[in-house]
């Protein structure tokens, strides 16, 4: 039968240092499949450049980065997870040190000090640090010493994410900084943080971000995109709203006293923080740069200025929409091939895929992505250590966030913040970071297999 042709070697990796049978095959399969789709999309995206095709320097560079990333992945996968997580704090400290160095010495490239330049290679520490920040957070939240002092645990966990976020905002790189936020929600949730905390955090975020969006839209467009926006844009309306919310909280508090039921102070805290965030958003909005304001407007109203800020969104939607069911093929995909699609090999690679390969191709890509995420979280479920489970959850959260924001952006659902689509977008740091993260997840998977089936053969031999 066909299935019997390569029973032992499903993937062509012949590294003697890694026992290939230990790698989680479904995860490896979806990783490689997405990498192949990514290279194919990159091939399409650079078709109009010279030299085109596989001799294009971008294509060659991306292939080299994939090679490096795979090596890192295999190295991390092979290292016992306990060995890595044991060094989590050290790696974290090293990462923070790198980010500080970046802010201090990095040259300004495209308005941001995000890259450390080593000869002809540019490395983005903020990308590389992502999986290790997840690891440190996981280590922190599963630390037995800390569990005894819960008053310290939550602030420390928050600080472990907010510190790198702040350093990245200093570069300034909004997109990457925001993607760290996924850790802040995902990992504590899995660690067992009551949902009410997360709800309060959401309320605070909504009062902050929502109000800025509505305020900018009001100023730039002179009309509000939605009726719901009205109470959010005016501080007097906000005052009334928070008054009502405060009354409701106090009402519940009194009600709970009468009924003698439990009332959590978190609700009052959440109300307070949301209100502070709401009013803090006014000075923040005033300090936004014009291009940042225009991006927000472009999100709220994509047709408002086809040559300006909303150009990218519109071109991306045209690319996606014109793809149809089967796609326009490599030669017919004019948006991608002729270059109307901006950033077509980096942030908008998904649009290129959608235009070239249609709904079938884009749908397959999405399905592979969801399978990859499912598999990461599945490994988390079955992880033999709490740290492993939390780490997998953190990495899954980051991937999910990237997927939602990047693909949502190409489909005109989410405002444009420049973050890549892992495994698909062109970019060395992102590629290596993603594959390193998957290496961590593989390591977690292997740790569990070892726990269940015992250590690999070679090590067993040594024990005789």
């Amino acid at each position: 039968m066909k299935g019997d042709r390569h029973p032992a070697v499903p993937f062509p990796f012949h590294s003697s240092s890694v026992n290939r049978s230990e790698l989680d095959r479904p995860l490896l399969f979806s990783t490689v499949a997405l990498l192949v789709i990514g290279l194919l999309a990159l091939y399409v995206a650079v078709r109009s450049e010279t030299p085109a095709g596989i001799r294009n320097p971008d294509f060659i560079r991306q292939s080299v980065w994939i090679g490096i990333g795979m090596a890192v992945m295999l190295l991390l996968a092979k290292t016992p997870f306990s060995a890595i997580s044991g060094k989590a704090y050290v790696i974290f400290a090293l990462g923070i040190f790198l980010l500080v160095i970046t802010v201090l010495v990095a040259p300004k490239i495209r308005g941001a000090k995000s890259w450390i330049v080593l000869g002809s290679v540019r490395v983005q520490p903020s990308e590389l640090f992502k999986p290790f920040c997840a690891l440190a957070l996981a280590a922190l939240l599963s630390d037995r010493r800390l569990k005894k002092i819960p008053q310290l645990e939550i602030p420390l966990a928050a600080a472990a994410v907010l510190l790198p976020m702040a350093l990245i905002l200093l570069q300034p790189d909004l997109g990457t900084a925001v993607s760290y936020g996924a850790l802040l929600v995902g990992v504590p949730y899995i660690a067992g943080l009551p949902v009410k905390y997360i709800l309060c955090a959401f309320a605070a975020a909504l009062s902050f971000v929502g109000r800025i969006v509505m305020g900018v839209a009001q100023d730039e467009l002179n009309h509000l995109p939605t009726a719901i926006g009205a109470p959010l844009s005016d501080w007097r309306a906000g005052l009334v709203l928070f008054g009502i919310a405060g009354a409701a909280v106090i009402g519940v508090k009194i009600g709970s006293r009468i009924k003698k039921s439990h009332f959590s102070l978190v609700w009052i805290l959440g109300w307070l923080i949301s209100m502070i965030a709401y009013f803090a958003s006014f000075p923040i909005e005033a300090s936004l740069k014009q291009y940042q304001r225009l991006r927000i407007v472009a999100f709220v109203s994509p047709g408002s200025d086809p040559r300006g800020a909303s150009y990218n969104v519109l071109q991306s939607m045209i690319a996606v929409g014109s793809g149809g069911l089967f796609g326009r093929g490599m030669t017919g995909a004019s948006q991608t091939a002729l270059g109307f699609l901006p950033e077509r090999h980096t942030d908008f690679i998904f649009s290129a895929i959608s235009e070239t390969f249609g709904f079938l191709g884009a749908g397959l890509t999405l399905a592979l992505y969801v399978y990859l995420l499912y598999r990461i979280l599945q490994i988390g479920i079955h992880a033999s250590s709490e740290t492993g489970a939390l780490c997998a959850a953190g990495i899954g959260s980051i991937f999910l966030f990237h997927l939602i924001v990047n693909v949502g952006m190409t489909l005109g659902l989410v405002p444009i913040i420049g973050i890549p689509l892992p495994l698909l977008s062109y970019g060395g740091s992102s590629m290596v970071s993603t594959l390193a993260a998957l290496g961590l997840v593989q390591s977690i998977a292997i740790e569990r297999k070892r726990a269940i089936y015992g250590a690999p053969e070679e090590k067993n031999h040594r024990n005789y």
Binding site: G324, G339, F340, G358, F359, V407
Partner: protein, 595 residues
């Protein structure tokens, strides 16, 4: 913890489904809409400029033409960030210019990054070669062939040719039915404006596939342009040039026409301008200088300014006297230097003068008497018949139609302190071309032409024919009589004799026009100017015979504003032009001229 991880898996699935729904919405339900948008992106239509027609003189000398100028352009979208300063520095070395202004021009291109900014125009060959060599080190810099209008004769005939400029929004609105679009060149004055539709031709269209920078990748279809038609003028480029030479440094005008047909040969006015300054950005300084010049070089003194014609107007008195029968050539008046309190220009008086002597010496007293004999009505009638209140009809722009004063006009337009209106003084002023009389040089040239032809006034024309790109000719100029006084032969002879007498006569004021081998008629005029120096006039016509059997070929009028006097101020200029014309036409040989 595991329960929550499973929930997170569900969250992943929910978001993925949401994205998939949106994907289906865009790709399956709204596909047509986006396909159309993609096509609109891909396919561009570009108009291909039709070359503007040439303007030529009567012998085919080019007065206005086109050439392609290699211009240096900068496309900001093609220059990576932070390269602009370096590029500007390198360009500065290549162009041997300062980098500051170059950088400023390049920076201005950042506002519309896809729109090319012209950095330098009309680059010479060696610099073009250096640009090509350094190309890879000059990101965003390209050489583009841009159209440029050239005026090889420079200032000669500038006012008649006019100039072109980019169409204004007001013009665009006004000409909305004529296929003009923003960025088009359009004639702003003169022939360029009057015949713009014929000169511009019809632009072609190209439909092509383009990249986002608008660079054509593949031609899909095209419609060829129809080149503009050439306008052949009746102007004589030599005369125009000589006229400008003669006028250089002075304010004035020289008009020459072909009397028998009405063809305009020369329309010079100074201060003049080079029409190229409105096209070439390298000449921006000259443009500013011309536009801010207090003497208004753009205004043609030949047709758009009127002056008292002075004694040239006396020709009208002569004709009026003869046609009414109130004056005969032999009638004499005595000039003692003044008459009825009005002075003759020669304070000592001319003694007893007849018609010939009166005109030749331009005796004011003779004409005072004449005016009394003839009366204002006959003077007015004659002046009107000779077109002194009519514009040239050439349509070259705003034009003065002169002023032939009548008692009715005076009552309607002049306020006198004592309530006294039109009197003998006004009549006497009118006959010597002073007072309220105003004429343009073109009218004065037409006056002597008509006078020499027995009162036959030809319709003036400046466009001979229009020639299409394929060589098909459309004649425009047809000689036509506009009005004819039909002087009887004897009267016409007397007028011609009198005109010849002004040049050839013993004490003739236009003696400067005397040329061996060529009989010239003429008249001078010194127009009193209460605001400054007197204006000098001289008119001439040649060849002229008393009998009228030689057809005159040129009538010339020269005005020198503030030229002090007709014979001394304007005379040498007319002489300069007429002498060269006579040599070219073979009437006289160079050596025969006695200065």
């Amino acid at each position: 913890m595991n329960k929550r991880l499973v929930r997170l898996q569900v969250v992943c699935a929910v978001f993925a489904v949401a994205l998939l729904i949106r994907l289906a919405d865009l790709q399956l339900l709204r596909r047509e809409e986006f396909i159309q948008a993609a096509e609109e992106n891909r396919i561009r239509i570009r108009s291909v400029r039709a070359p503007r027609g040439k303007i030529l003189d009567r012998t085919g000398i080019i007065l206005a033409s086109n050439r392609l100028s290699p211009d240096l352009i900068f496309v900001a979208a093609k220059a990576p960030d932070g390269t602009m300063e370096k590029t500007a520095e390198r360009l500065a070395v290549i162009l041997e210019e300062d980098s500051g202004p170059l950088l400023q021009k390049m920076r201005s291109g950042r506002r519309l990054p896809l729109w090319p900014v012209v950095i330098a125009r009309d680059l010479p060959g060696p610099i073009l070669r250096r640009i090509a060599w350094y190309g890879p080190f000059l990101p965003g810099i390209e050489v583009q062939l841009g159209p440029a209008r050239t005026y090889p004769q420079q200032t000669a005939a500038a006012h008649a040719l006019g100039y072109i400029g980019e169409i204004s929004s007001a013009e665009l609105e006004q000409l909305s039915e004529s296929n003009y679009e923003l960025g088009d060149w359009i004639g702003k004055s003169g022939i360029e404006r009057l015949y713009d539709l014929q000169l511009r031709g019809e632009d072609g269209l190209e439909q092509f596939e383009a990249d986002p920078l608008g660079q054509p990748l593949r031609l899909l279809s095209e419609k060829h342009f129809v080149a503009g038609q050439d306008i052949h003028l009746t102007l004589d480029a030599d005369l125009c040039r000589w006229a400008n030479e003669a006028l250089s440094g002075k304010e004035g005008a020289i008009v020459a026409i072909e009397p028998a047909t009405g063809r305009v040969l020369c329309l010079a006015s100074t201060p003049a301008f080079d029409p190229a300054i409105f096209v070439d950005r390298n000449l921006m300084d000259s443009r500013v200088a011309v536009l801010s010049d207090a003497l208004h070089p753009l205004v043609s003194r030949a047709w758009n300014a009127s002056y008292p014609p002075g004694s040239t107007y006396k020709i009208i008195g002569v004709i009026a006297g003869l046609t009414t029968g109130r004056i005969s050539p032999s009638m004499r008046y005595s000039c003692g230097g003044s008459y009825m309190g009005k002075k003759c220009w020669k304070l000592g008086g001319h003694g007893s003068v007849d018609l010939y002597g009166g005109l030749a010496q331009s005796c004011d007293v003779y004409f005072y008497h004449l005016s009394e004999a003839v009366g204002i009505e006959a003077l007015t009638k004659t002046a009107r018949a000779l077109g002194m209140d009519l514009p040239s009809g050439l349509g070259l722009g705003t034009e003065r139609s002169g002023l032939v004063p009548t008692p009715e006009w005076e009552r309607a337009h002049v306020r006198t302190p004592d309530g006294q209106h039109w009197g003998t003084g006004d009549l006497m002023n009118t006959v010597i071309g002073q007072g309220y009389v105003l004429s343009t040089p073109i009218q004065v040239a037409r006056l002597i032409a008509a006078a020499a032809l027995g009162g036959k006034r030809m319709k003036l024309g400046i466009v001979e024919k229009i020639v299409g790109a394929a060589g098909e000719e459309m004649p425009v100029f047809v000689p036509a009589v506009e009005s004819d006084m039909q002087l009887d032969a004897e009267h016409a002879r007397i007028v011609r004799k009198a005109l010849i007498g002004v040049v050839e006569g013993e004490r003739g004021t236009a003696v400067r026009l005397k040329l061996p081998g060529l009989t010239v008629g003429g008249k001078t005029g010194t127009a009193e100017n209460p605001h400054g120096e007197n204006h000098g006039w001289i008119i001439g016509i040649a060849p002229l015979s008393e009998s009228g059997d030689v057809v005159p070929r040129i009538a010339i009028a020269v005005l020198v504003v503030h030229g002090k006097s007709g014979s001394a101020g304007a005379g040498p200029l007319a002489r300069y032009v007429l002498e060269r014309w006579a040599i070219r036409e073979g009437y006289v040989t160079d050596t025969a001229i006695v200065r």
